[in-house]
Subunit: 536 residues, 2 copies
Amino acid sequence: MAKRSFWAWGHESDEPTAEQMKTAADELSKRYRVNLDPVSPPRPSDISLRKPRISPPSSLAGICVSDDHDRAVHTYGRSFRDRIRAFNLDFPNPPDVVARPRNEQEVEAVLEWCSSSGHAAIPFGGGSSTVAGFEPPDGYDGIVTIDLEGLDQVLEIDDVSRSARIQGGVYGPALEDQLRPHGFTLRHYPQSFEFSTLGGWIATRSGGHYATNQTHIDDMVESVRMVTPSGLWESRRLPGSGAGPSPDRIAIGSEGILGIITEAWMRIQARPVSRASAGVTFPTFAAGAEAARRIVQTKLWPANCRLLDPVEAAVAAGMDGTVALLVLGFESAEVPQGEFIRHAVDIARDAGGTIDGANIRVSDGSKNSSGGDTGRQGSVGAWRNSFLNAPYVKNHQAGLGFVTETMETAVTWDRWANLDQTVRAALQDALDRVCGGGTVSCRFTHVYTDGPAPYFTFEGMGRLGAELEMYAEIKQAASDAIIAAGGTITHHHAVGRLHRPWYDQQRPELFAQSLKAIKRTLDPHGVLNPGLLIDS
Amino acid sequence: MAKRSFWAWGHESDEPTAEQMKTAADELSKRYRVNLDPVSPPRPSDISLRKPRISPPSSLAGICVSDDHDRAVHTYGRSFRDRIRAFNLDFPNPPDVVARPRNEQEVEAVLEWCSSSGHAAIPFGGGSSTVAGFEPPDGYDGIVTIDLEGLDQVLEIDDVSRSARIQGGVYGPALEDQLRPHGFTLRHYPQSFEFSTLGGWIATRSGGHYATNQTHIDDMVESVRMVTPSGLWESRRLPGSGAGPSPDRIAIGSEGILGIITEAWMRIQARPVSRASAGVTFPTFAAGAEAARRIVQTKLWPANCRLLDPVEAAVAAGMDGTVALLVLGFESAEVPQGEFIRHAVDIARDAGGTIDGANIRVSDGSKNSSGGDTGRQGSVGAWRNSFLNAPYVKNHQAGLGFVTETMETAVTWDRWANLDQTVRAALQDALDRVCGGGTVSCRFTHVYTDGPAPYFTFEGMGRLGAELEMYAEIKQAASDAIIAAGGTITHHHAVGRLHRPWYDQQRPELFAQSLKAIKRTLDPHGVLNPGLLIDS
């Protein structure tokens, strides 16, 4: 099994070469008119951590490790803050033990050990959190991170109901590999797909591939099985129910504070064969937004309906910097999609969009099909490649003082224009103040009938060694603006430690008290992921 | 305002005439080969209730009443048990006071009175519960039923986001009347539409008009405002969020035990103008089920996809008793629906269905349209009329010893055939044992990609005076079978007092404990709808 990088996105083999780091330094030097010297990335042998303060009971020793590399990999996710700290070998509070249970009984045993000893128990999925979702808490004498990678199986496929019973620790690619021979797919593709797990998706209310209709993992869950310190929580497999508040909707989004999701029955689907795609340009982001709104409100349910502002359309899809780009995609296992995309394009044109008819690509196995590469050509294909490569590109830019991050939200359409304006202004103002300038851009990753999910990217050239403070000031300004403008602090990245201050402002206070009451019921010793969502 | 009947479905003007009751008695006499004498319905002047045991504080006297008719109307819903008891003037435990707050402050004041005095506080929506959802509890010295009918306004319409802020007490027709001038509709049509409210739909996780895709009220809620004894619970308006477990999903389905839903922002939509419908017959219910499964799994998202078994197809849609009927309907405000229905019909035919091409009705404003009465002609129109009239027909059959009820569930497709078989067998066996025979039938009211929502109807001729015991035995047998076969005890009728024993079997026990912990947080004196969902 490939070894994960302790600082970069991906495996050690994904760490940049000296040549790649030089190219990135040259590129950023040119962009920001500075002289940046490329640096050498840290090596695993450079890691030096606090000694483990605890050791597992002998019954668990066989599934626990405490070596520095493993503990470093389990300290941080992959946000900007995380990558900077890891790159700088700054690991003041690593877990003491990494446990890798191979079955549910071992999950229970690890939780029992933590509960009886008062150790913090931190569930760990794929390690790609961008919100410090599994970062160890301060103030604990012992920290046990529970890596679920051993629970990696699709246990059962019900092909008549199109459901599968799947273990929580399976990574995206391995999950799809196990469904593919049966002709099925979960078709949940967050950008972190390669380095995230089913249990992580459920615990964080991950948002997936689909830009419209059922896109959050919430809607794909048929039932959940969760080990808590108070015992097993398992809901009944049901296609729909009206029996009291939904138990699953407590587990979904619980971010590891209530239990460890060991299994779930998930709604799967036939693999799509009919596809259609189109990239429509607009003179302004606002015009594209109006088209996206009309398309989603007609309930055509495109699989892809992503809008890139002119900055992102230039960077990600090769546009000229003056136009916004609406990326449309339709797909189905059984229904030809040509009529759908033509209808969506008609709406987009009516809203001021431009597309050459020949650039509407339809692949449905018929004679008029434009071939199997629908969605992988032209501006749509360029966007796709950029989307998949984005996390890796950041690896090359490490160690240069560069400050960059993405932030997502969701807001109703009536408030969108104001949110767009005030968040951009807050980001630009903070970048100007902190970095002496920088770039702000935005795209819609998802659209709902009642509002979009805008996704902001900012970047500026900071000072090496001061990036974290500079980042914190920019992030705070934008987060304050998001909350003030009526948005959510997170649409699909979860809350984690990073978003707690703003999460506390957006939720009902009585809900926070209710969540505490649930926490006391399921985790009476308060050992599970302390400090997430509520104060411990 | 028309006065509600204290025993029949509807208003006093909907109570049956002597002629109608005679016709029903004759019809049932013929069907069951007995001689039934029609009876006279009870009159309001026949009601004699326990004297009110409490009186409101003077500050609330203006919004409280304690007259017998009002208290009788607020004692029972409209299940079989309820109608029998009300018809028999059997009201041993009516509420003492009916409060009608006119605004949120008065809701708070009533709850404060109940909390400080230890009176049970029972939220009341439209009064059409079939599960004893607002029946007063035993063991309380004072019972205050809180009728929300005064909170009946659409307060705000956001036409760009297609959302509306609506008060919880508004009835279905009044809600639609207020949206219609703006070109919008909530388009949530439970069978109880006339006598149910927005707040009631949310509190009971009502299932609506749509047979597929977003159909439960859950998916239409953008945010909820709920008055609890501990204060106000209000969620942020958001089109989507990944911020912790959903607060709304605690309020939705809470059946009045946590608070009173005073307002909600709801997702609304443009009024449909394009419609298509078709009624496809099948040689067996199972063949029709296979067609329904394939149609929903293709994700064509029909608005209507209801399957009637041969018994129901005969009674409700004029079929000959040998064929099942699949009622298909598509609708859209903007997209012509002809292609969709033809595709669905192709799938249905491929699964063994029969329909004459001329009976596929499409109305899309085009020249080829079959006119504005799509869905109101032929077998589909017959089904529609029967669906709307069903609750009224039961009024005519009162007082004759007739035992009849409907029961719904949902189950995954892999378990459906077994559930269908065992629940029918349990019902038939119980009817044979208890009534010396009777009829069982079933339809699908909703279908999901992973399973249908079967809806059973049973009837038999019981003994006058013993109907309730006979009913209880039949209901118990079927409910046990539903739970044993993997179904839910309720798909859209809620839990109430009626379904508690089976609800307790289907939910995770740790969820029950969590719900108790939430209840203690929001309703520390335990006054709200005691005994619902959890023990008080």
